[in-house]
Point group: D5
Chain length 149, copies 10
């Protein structure tokens, strides 16, 4: 008996079909009927999908039931440390090294002692036109949680 | 002869006066006449201030010229790794571990092969009212830079 | 000759059948007639099972003798460090970073110089209803061991 | 001008007076009128106290206003990695290495995809009498937070 | 269905054909009609190629469409840390450990607060004849980016 | 008896006088009569200076003999790892992560099995005007050393 | 041609047969006619066996010549760091963290400046009956080596 | 107010007086009336002493009450990782890397699934005469603890 | 198409034939007509061989052309960190931890500011008879390179 | 009471006087009447000196009794990892990364299973004249120790 396909193996097949069929994440997210960043993260292995979502994804991607089964599994949410070297990802971490303590200070000033939830949380990405070159705008939007005993 | 006060020592005195005088970062940023997150980061040691900015900051904080001299120095922008354990800062890094590969994929889809600049870059923080509890909204806004030889 | 199936390979097959047969850990623990957290940990590879426990587990999970043989092996109890990034697991470690020194001080105050055993030890998990949202209650219960020469 | 006393320096003075005056954490927590584990953690530098709490703590500990001022500051919540080697603290981390994946699986089974909050969270410690030797019982009690976009 | 060949697998086949056919990177770069260092890096897995570039590379290297498909994929740009031990690569990192702070100081003196871009960036390598032994000359040429809010 | 001033302490005083006297590294290098990058690195603690160089540096910087004595000492050439996070320095390391294996392949193709020396070595930095924004050009120039038994 | 079976692969087959044939390490050590801890370590991959020892081991374990050939190879003596997390192994390392500096001081006091050899060295393990519970007694016995130029 | 002297500072003074007064650990342990290895470890900062033990130690070492107060404090039991490089300490860790898995296997064979306690534990060191050179014999003696739910 | 056999795979086959044919490194080095340590290192994957050397090695080792092709490839010179734990290798690193700063001081005293090359470099190993036991004598012989701009 | 001066503090004063009095390690080793590398290592903090050696060293270096007392203390033999970055020291470690496995294989071939002792061990350094540039010759000479139970 073979175990359920792993989430990384499923993600590799998703990327394969994205490329071979010329699909965009936007189009797949529409097919799945879920937010763009959420869908992309889920297909790359970071969220479990419902059976309906997995089925819709596999249909648009022309992938089999073994992939669909995998996409519904609860993943371990983690990242291989070497991926953090990739410049497109690293810049976000650099920004947090520079601005993290300031964000902490300002969250405490505005909300009190607590955090921005990373669970009750959504991310969005947009293009902002600018005469000096268009800009990537990423918005982190999480519920404030106060330290409460 | 004593060397110029280090940026961390200056930041400790800034925090001391913030607390003793009951000031807010918002108020200090107004005095410095600079954006809120930028000013907070600069006073915590991550940006050099101009002479005028440093002077305005020291006036509202009632700090001496030795602090003002320090605030104008070019810092080394880095973060002590143990600070990354702080839950308020850690949640941002967790979000990037979960969504980083998805953001990379979507930047490439929308803009092509490149990155969001962390230099030509600004961060903003806001409170968004919500019936289930107010939310922290942090916006990263950086110029897209394409890999260009 | 093939070696005995590894504990991680057995765990992958356990998870596969849990999903395909729609079983719960609670139901499997009942079949194994052992505590819930213990059974889950054992099936995920952290405790050796007796022959009877392994047999009961394989029966309810519809798995073969090769899995049953594996489940009886003495495991190496360790965790891949990247799994500690998973937010559901990380929160426990964060809580220990925040409260660890306090727990140490209080154990010393109440019991004297020593530790809570992690071997003569049991863990339980429960749901506690709460008007603001139900709560996860995890109880660590270990024998006090005093430093004794 | 001297900066505000650091939280670790304040904690060292708290420990000094605990020892010299023969106080218990229980007694200090009563004086502060706050939960035992919370108070211990706060005095060791992991939570900001209110002015009233800091004042009550300093009175029972016979410590000065400089300590009281420090106890009200927002700390960076982190732990020196070498402290994690201490056996009394290490046993908790060992238990999580052994049972972490099982707890994750059981939280998902009972509550769905999400986490136990470490912010809306409380810890308690108790002694449980047992004929084979009394036991340390530590309870983690955190609000369940589901992944919600 | 097999996933797209990974970039490291494609690079291994590129190196294989370079050796078996006695090709030089210079010759392959000419066939691809792209700069030498860029082409080498791309074939080793650090840049996506256009369909035309991948096709030209596969033709000169006598490699199949599966390699060509792989060469067009967006890579994760990272390096296995053990490769940094290789003396030919390590010397560059050693030079940066010795001269990095000086380069930072001189960039700030000449350009102001900012960085040399590693994205809008090109590298060149040349041989410089010298009576004491020829020299390797590597030029990093990146756009200056100033910290701009 | 006090030991010789450490190189980092001397470097802090050098930076102090650079700032207070409004000097540039270029001007100090002229006074020392040595190459710009070499002089900057030496004053920041990475090379020993001759007595004459140290004396010239201290004269233009208005620093005492204790600094001059320190500047002549043989340093340990190393860098604090947290400094490598600084974006201005990090970009060089990122470029080497991306292009290091390509540079290795091209050195081997052009020169044979060996390395670019980091000892018989010089670095230069220049500004290159460009209509899209001026560029930082850093040249590494080291003698080729072949593996020779 | 296949390479010689690796020592870890041979160890996995040894463990397999230990389990399937219900053998004990004591019995295998008798068959090999070598000390108990040495034999166990050798079969787990940490010492080369003579041809006679390997042959005797394979006979009692009913393993083939390919395993016997592997057991005679010179191993690399090292341990995967994740195995050090296993509680049964970790306790030894914890004891050394607590008592290491004391053992060093006492070796120097009794023998002078030097070490206990880990090469001219033997380990033994025994059970010591005790009314409060039997005890594990592990003896390290190594030749003293003095620093001798 | 000064905090209680740290355990490392107390240990440095203990070592100072050991040297200046020509004392041996054996003699101090007799004065303290406690086992040799325990006393050495306690004076080096790894165990709290009773008031009587601390007083006896300070008398024989001619140290003040401030040291005696420190010796009674509960320490954090940990070791600076750089100390593990010391060859006299390292050899013990090397022996565990080589024999750790064998000891684990033999503990399980003799006692079942469990560990040797490092808390209900004692260490002894002895000299064993041998014609090829005397030997260091270190005995670890800890209660067996079985995994018991 | 299969890629060229990796250097580690080739090294495993070399070791296999060394064992099966009862060859010594000395004998193989003679066949290759190259220095002993160089040849051993090259066959273990650290140097490229010429076609003639690879052919001679494969003939004496009775290995195929696929191995010979591999031995001519330019390797990445690095070592898996876990191999550094092996006691036979570790002792060299320990010696450098103890004597490294002294060697640095003496190189600077005798030669001036510079290094011993590890590229224009040879290593030799010899047995030196000694009445107390024969000795391993390893000689590092590298060209002095002075820091020269 | 002040503790005995630390070995690093003593080494800093040794280096200070070496520089101020223009002494060489050779001359100091003669005064101490001990081998050159041993004396240098001892003065830099890696070996305890006898009273006579310490006295002779302090006389030639014109240092006080406090330094002499320190030089006689048993050190912890370790090295700060950042010092290993220094190129003069790093080259030795690089050579071991390249040749370590070969040296291990050749020690086993010539001597059998065992190690070169780093305790019964001496190091020497010499200059070897060579027409292409003089060479640094470092000899490691340690007693062979065979694995002996």
């Amino acid at each position: 008996m073979d175990p359920i396909m792993s989430r990384p193996d499923a993600a590799a097949l998703v990327r394969t079909q994205m490329s071979r069929k010329g699909l965009t994440w936007t189009k797949v997210a529409e097919a799945v009927d879920a937010p763009l960043v959420w869908t992309t993260a889920a297909l790359l292995g970071q969220h479990p999908m419902t059976a309906a979502q997995a089925s819709a994804a596999c249909e648009v991607l022309d992938l089999g039931d073994d992939v669909g089964e995998s996409l519904q599994q609860q993943p371990s949410r983690s990242i291989d440390p070497t991926l953090l070297q990739d410049p497109t990802i690293y810049r976000f971490n650099e920004a947090l090294a520079v601005y993290g303590p300031a964000l902490k200070a300002l969250i405490h000033e505005e909300f009190g002692d607590g955090i921005m939830s990373a669970i009750n949380f959504q991310v969005d990405i947009a293009r902002r036109a600018h005469p000096d070159g268009d800009r990537v705008v990423v918005t982190f939007d999480g519920k404030f949680l106060d330290y409460r005993w």
